[in-house]
């Protein structure tokens, strides 16, 4: 079954910057949510979110780590 790369972002406290903490391979948005929450559970996160890497739009360079449209894993 085809999987997508989802990047995981989280912050520990309300005022913290949202940081990229890793990625998961998932079937869809729903499984990505669960995999992210269960995989990166070493902290008591205030907020966590995932975004499909193919949805990330590069702004200033096309060779950045998130510009692979889902195929690259920084």
């Amino acid at each position: 079954m085809h999987e997508h790369v989802y990047d995981v972002f989280a912050r520990k406290s309300r005022g913290d910057p949202l940081a990229h903490i890793g990625y998961v391979d998932a079937l869809d948005d729903e499984t990505a949510r669960v995999y992210a929450w269960k995989t990166y559970d070493e902290e008591h996160w205030f907020e966590m979110c995932v975004v499909r890497r193919s949805a990330i739009i590069p702004v200033n360079r096309e060779d950045g780590p998130f510009a692979g449209g889902g195929s690259e894993k920084p």
Binding site: M1, E3, D25, L27, E30, T31, Y35, W37, K38, T39
Partner: protein, 265 residues
């Protein structure tokens, strides 16, 4: 019932006290066995992320079981005895967890159906008037939301992947699990007495909640949950489940037999 029983409560009559204890043991044993069945798939799940999720869910279930067993103390019983000394014939876990899941399709069906049925029973208990349940179960239900989400997503994916084999395996597991789970949620006299006293919901309400929770998901493999007949064979009122018991290996793991000499509490 307006008074809420708690630690060292003495207001319950003997039949209600006994029924409440049976309900707690049934939920705790089911959680413990659910954790063991998830733990079987830490390795061998379809992806590393799924294995990690299975590991985490196993931890969730064992944590829930520990909290539920601890409620026995509020009912004057010894949680350690319940956790570590009972023979397998005394386990009150839901019937469909008696044997390991044979394949990933069965795990997915178990996530949606077995874990789902236990969650319905927990939710009903949480909304009743037993104080320890009201305070400790909400966190379990929040964690179960992730189990439901993962189970539903995998179920829909297998049901719609175009593989006849996957669909057949999923349908077979679903058709095997539904009748005993519906029977488990259908109240007997003890549950009806607890419902009348305000400790949980009546059986028909729990069955309806379960059907509502899984109806759309199981329709994906052509199963109409409203048409599934509730199993009507033998019933063990002392445990609130059908005849039989979990396999010996699972109970040895649940009790911690192999490390008994190292037991520290």
């Amino acid at each position: 019932m307006t008074e809420k029983p708690g630690p060292e409560d003495t207001t319950l009559d003997a039949p209600t006290h006994s029924a409440l204890k049976r309900l707690v043991v049934s939920l705790a044993d089911s959680k413990r066995l659910m954790g063991i069945r998830y733990s079987d798939w830490l390795l061998g799940a379809p992806s590393i992320e799924t294995g990690i999720a299975a590991s985490s869910m196993a931890q969730d279930e064992w944590g829930h079981a520990r909290l539920l067993y601890a409620m026995l103390k509020d009912l004057g019983a010894d949680p350690l005895e319940a956790e570590h000394t009972r023979p397998m014939e005394a386990y009150a876990s839901v019937d469909v967890l008696d044997a390991p899941f044979g394949d990933w399709a069965a795990v997915v069906a178990g996530m949606v159906l077995a874990d789902g049925a236990i969650t319905v029973a927990l939710d009903a208990f949480c909304k009743g008037s037993f104080d320890p349940a009201c305070s400790r179960i909400p966190k379990m239900l929040a964690e179960e939301e992730f189990h439901r989400s993962l189970g539903g997503a995998w179920y829909r994916r297998l049901a719609g992947c175009g593989s006849t084999e996957a669909t057949e395996l999923l349908r077979g597991a679903t058709e095997r699990m539904l009748p005993p789970l519906l029977r488990w949620l259908t109240a007997d006299d003890q549950i009806e007495a607890l419902a009348a006293a305000g400790f949980t919901a009546p059986g028909d309400a729990q069955v309806a909640a379960f059907r509502d929770a899984v109806r759309d998901v199981v329709a994906g493999v052509g199963v109409d949950v409203d048409a599934v007949r509730i199993r009507e064979d033998a019933w063990d009122p002392s445990r609130g489940r059908g005849p039989g018991h979990p396999d010996a290996d699972a109970v040895e793991r649940a009790r911690g037999d192999r490390n008994r000499a190292l037991f520290v509490e």
